[in-house]
């Protein structure tokens, strides 16, 4: 996955993501594609969650999956999550759950509950940073005020790090793939470097929904695992998604 929150020169926040899933879950040699990724694409839907006939939040989901991986609370905040690998992983959380220790939250139920109940960027950030979880994760959160964009690096128990947008440091965007931002990514899976190269080439003066889509359409940010791309603009309360393909030659991940 590749998630980006960027702040344009007017202070607007733009949030985009590629949802990559299905690694090592079966390769279709004939079609040069991942079996699970191809099965997920027809399940991609945009959802408008409504209460009293008013939108509470919107999301991009796989039909049948009740948790959230990509969502927007219109005019309040935008949220995506990327997978984080750790030896202290979800299987330990599941074992604890089965043994009856149930003080942690399932990752996608936490994101769903934040989108449904949090009423501000700050509240969302606190809930995502402080709630005990069953599995590690990266939460990429965008707000509705200048400077409100961050990557929360989570272990099961703790918030390990929070990286905020800081225009004074010329950090006008935050970008997360699937590696801790203070470490080098795995050399066979470095999507961070090309993504940052394209973001820097775009420049803050030219960042928009369109140019962010360009970045997410460039290989290897676009790869054989990419099922959909979502673009969100919190100030307009807008979410749009597109089902993707990656023509050969294309990285498997």
């Amino acid at each position: 996955c590749t998630s980006v929150v960027a702040q344009d020169q007017k202070g607007n926040l733009i949030h985009g993501r590629n949802l990559d899933f299905g690694l090592f879950l079966g390769w279709d040699v004939k079609n040069k594609s991942w079996i699970i990724s191809e099965k997920l694409k027809p399940l991609v839907v945009n959802l408008d969650f409504r209460k009293n006939n008013k939108t509470v939040f919107k999301s991009t989901n796989f039909a049948g999956y009740v948790g959230m991986l990509t969502g927007i609370k219109p005019h309040v905040f935008t949220l995506t999550m990327n997978e984080r690998f750790s030896l202290d992983g979800g299987y330990i959380g599941i074992l604890e759950w089965i043994m009856g220790q149930r003080d942690g939250m399932w990752m996608s139920f936490l994101t769903r509950s934040v989108l449904e109940n949090a009423t501000s960027y700050k509240e969302a950030k606190n809930q995502l940073a402080l709630t005990k979880m069953l599995a590690p994760a990266y939460f990429i959160l965008g707000g509705n005020q200048p400077g409100e964009g961050c990557i929360i690096t989570r272990s099961r128990e703790l918030s390990i790090d929070v990286l905020d947008i800081d225009v004074k440091l010329d950090r006008w965007y935050v970008l997360e793939t699937n590696y801790d931002h203070w470490k080098e990514p795995f050399f066979l899976d470095d999507r961070r470097t090309p993504a940052m190269k394209c973001m820097n080439k775009t420049t803050q003066a030219n960042i928009s929904v369109k140019t962010l889509y360009d970045v997410l359409s460039t290989k290897p940010m676009l790869n054989k695992l990419t099922t959909y791309t979502t673009l969100m603009q919190v100030s307009e309360g807008k979410l749009e998604s597109f089902i993707r393909d990656c023509p050969n030659p294309c990285m498997p991940w």
Binding site: K51, N52, G89, G90, I94, W97, D214, S217
Partner: protein, 121 residues
């Protein structure tokens, strides 16, 4: 660009989406949170029943590739429905509603919904 990782020059002019990297638009559905949890997903799942069954079958095939005896799927179908009752509200009820609407065994719908934690294995 023609050797792994096939890093391209930064693309431009890709929006509005078109061409070989764009398979298609995404449909919109409304989820009415005023409905009982078990009914919220019925309209969507009724539309996507075939695709969901296809996805679940692919996971079954994968599990049977690892454990040809089929025991792994049996375990999922026996154990994971018990897990559904331990999930916080409204998620357990919503998942049961999806199993009812799709005809997919409850344990396999639970597995689909906790796949993130399971996949870290």
């Amino acid at each position: 660009q023609f050797v792994p990782p096939y890093t391209e020059d930064c693309r431009t002019g890709m929006y509005p989406p078109n061409g070989p990297t764009f398979r298609g638009p995404v449909s919109w559905y409304t989820i009415d949170l005023d409905l009982p949890p078990s009914k919220r997903w019925t309209a969507l799942i009724t539309d996507k029943k075939t695709e969901l069954a296809g996805m679940i079958q692919a996971i079954r095939d994968l599990a049977n590739a690892f454990v040809p005896s089929g025991r792994l799927i049996e375990l999922v179908d026996i154990m994971l429905p018990l897990m559904a009752d331990t999930l916080p509200s409204p998620f357990g009820e919503e998942i049961k509603g999806i199993a009812d609407a799709s005809g997919v065994p409850l344990g396999e719908v639970v597995l689909f919904n906790i796949f993130y934690e399971v996949f870290t294995v």
